[in-house]
Symmetry: C2
Subunit: 417 residues, 2 copies
């Protein structure tokens, strides 16, 4: 009866411990949190099984994560990067989508991989392509910050493209998810998606007007936070229930709307606590909990390795080519392509969403986790390497200009150069 | 499938709205939150039914509430008030315990009230007495703060007594809960309770030593908060699972241990967010959700009214008499007695605990809510009135001494006195 208390404490402590361990190796804590779920679940120790409490809490966890991602979106910055970022993002979605579909088309045939998915093989294969599309903004930004290269031209292009990329990825997810229910006509599905964007645009505008004025009247934060949370939950519910759109899409849009009000930073700090202290450990662990070990053998291992290789190459090629089209220099194209490799929360979110809808079999969750882990490990390493090559041209160094010069002089003096 | 999102948003918005409404009438927001659950549940609108998700989240909510109450306990202050507070608390527990038992003994007979409780009638009646014992520290403190009388001699006595009162109440709850399982010998039950206090004393000492030193080594708050939360959850789990003690007792003790480290304020601020933004609305609403309307008729209404009257009188008499024994003046005894009337979270926690264990029928939850609502409404009103009567002796005014004098002079000058 009280086992859920033990489960929760195990999830909290193990995600944190493994998260800190992975951070020691300069990897994001997400990787550790995923591994924690994998260890606790049926794949290894089999201590915790998923209950409806864990399931629902994890769902709210991912809603809050996407809400926070929405609040972190800088709408102005998005407009500035403009065309270049859009082209990079579009090709950075198209190539991995095709690549993922190709790998899945080769492996996902009768007898090769046991699939408990309920949708058609074609839809399953497309969905695996969709999983490969999303770049993790947070991991990219963290890496660039660590390198001190966030404010370079390449850095800006990566940032803008990663944001647009996320949005395109979510639209793809929505479209593909809608097809999962094949009793529905395609035109009706597209109409509902359009309806959702009209609804969230109008509703968002009204909420924005109300919320911005209301926030200006007082200083009591508690009620603002709760109203923002309720708005996020209702948008998530409305998206799923009335429009057949993913609940996380609703939550993300709610976050974007909040980001345009002035209170966004204070609100984000509250949801940050709710997220790290309770909800997101449950979410990340719950993904690992769904992976079963018997599924990780034979064809699935070959599939996992191929998917990982395609995931890395398709982003580098897609985004690099996109950058080239927009007139970036070769060394910049390399940086942009490598900077977009890392998949993160979003790929996991999309995959777990698909498993819940029957779009992919649970056997495919293991490979997706491998993709996320490998791409997250490889990005900082490769990115460091690309920034070592290529000229340190003044175009590349904007804000760190003087500091770099100073360092150069110091290096020359100490005889290093 | 996604109804839990709608449920959650309804719970959050309605507890907050009704909470703000009750605050408009100078009542604690707890009252509003309770009413919200009552409206949403089967008693009125019947929109939300309790799921295992709500149940588990509510349980974690009350654990966090008691953990916070533990963190708020000032161990030093408790030692200073000492003997007087202890006598007041002891009589303030004994008289309501006897009073509640008496009322229950009169009403809780075959045919008068439908009871779905599984324990013996005697144990049920004792348990109703136990529910009446706990004074709500937070409500008392809020009221005294509003009146500016927290630092008076009466104020200190009330504060100390309320804290001790809570602890005695929890011990009573533990003892009575243990008896619910009548296959177990009484000596064994008492031994287990003793074992729990030894365990939590030793474990608490070890954790305190570790946590205090560890916290001094760095400034990263996130991991401290998570470790504190895990400690709280494990104490709650161990209490229930190994010692047959209420989980909230374990959480409360964990909070007291944390309160002795230096990081308690920062930690409390994090758990405060988790609590108000997510967990405690679910907890308070879930209590209201358990109340069914058909049970609120005939004998149960008479019982509810009697229980409320006894709840008010027994505290005033018990605590007032205790204060008299300790040499307080008559007007001070009146203040102390009235200040201890309010029941709050703790009474609700104890009652919902009892319902879950089968110690009281769910029919009794309505009356308990009435007791909480009435005592919380009546306390600030009566307390204001007692502070109007009686001399404004210098012993009664410590910190506000100069300010009061200044006000008096101003009043004389303006011709009001």
């Amino acid at each position: 009866m009280y086992k859920f208390l033990l489960d929760l404490s195990l999830i909290l402590i193990s995600t944190k411990l493994l998260g800190l361990l992975t951070r020691k190796f300069h990897l994001p804590q997400v990787v550790g949190a995923l591994l924690a779920g994998l260890f606790l679940g049926p794949a290894f120790l089999n201590i915790i099984t998923e209950t409806s409490f864990i399931q629902h809490s994890a769902e709210i966890g991912v809603i809050v994560l996407m809400f926070c991602a929405g609040m972190g979106t800088d709408v102005k910055e998005l407009k500035e990067c403009g065309k270049a970022s859009f082209v990079i993002a579009l090709l950075g979605v198209a190539v991995p989508l095709a690549g993922g579909f190709g790998v899945a088309y080769f492996f996902n045939r009768a007898g090769m991989i046991d699939s408990d998915a309920s949708s058609t093989i074609l839809l399953q294969n497309i969905f695996i392509g969709v999983i490969l599309t999303a770049t993790s903004v947070s991991i990219t930004v963290e890496t660039l910050k660590e390198l001190g290269k966030l404010k370079t031209r390449s850095g800006n292009a990566i940032l803008g493209a990663a944001i647009i990329d996320d949005i395109i990825g979510i639209v793809c997810l929505t479209v593909v998810s809608s097809f999962a229910d094949d009793s529905v006509k395609i035109s009706w599905v597209l109409l509902k998606i359009l309806g959702f964007f009209v609804f969230s645009g109008l509703g968002g505008w009204l909420f924005y007007q109300f919320f911005r004025r209301w926030c200006n009247t007082g200083r009591a934060m508690q009620r603002y936070t709760i109203v923002a949370f309720v708005y996020c939950l209702l948008m998530a519910f409305a998206a799923e229930n009335f429009f057949g759109v993913a609940d996380i899409t609703g939550a993300f849009i709610a976050g974007v709307i909040i980001s345009m009000t002035q209170r966004e930073e204070l609100l984000a700090s509250k949801f940050d606590v709710l997220s790290y202290l309770y909800l997101s450990p449950i979410f990340f662990a719950s993904i690992g909990l769904q992976v079963t070990m018997p599924a990780m053998s034979g064809a699935i291992i070959a599939f996992a390795l191929s998917l990982t290789i395609v995931a890395v190459l398709s982003k580098v090629i897609g985004c690099g080519f996109g950058a080239k089209l927009c007139g970036y220099k070769n060394y910049q194209c390399k940086r942009i392509g490598v900077g977009m490799i890392s998949r993160g929360e979003v790929a996991l979110i999309v995959a777990s969403k698909g498993a819940a809808l029957g779009l992919i079999g649970s056997a495919f969750l293991g490979p997706v986790i491998l993709v996320v882990v490998v791409t997250t490990i490889i990005t900082p390493v490769l990115l460091k390497w690309t920034f070592r090559g290529g000229p340190q041209a003044p175009i590349e160094i904007k804000e760190h200009h003087l500091a770099d010069k100073h360092e150069d002089i110091a290096a020359i003096r100490s005889g290093e150069k």
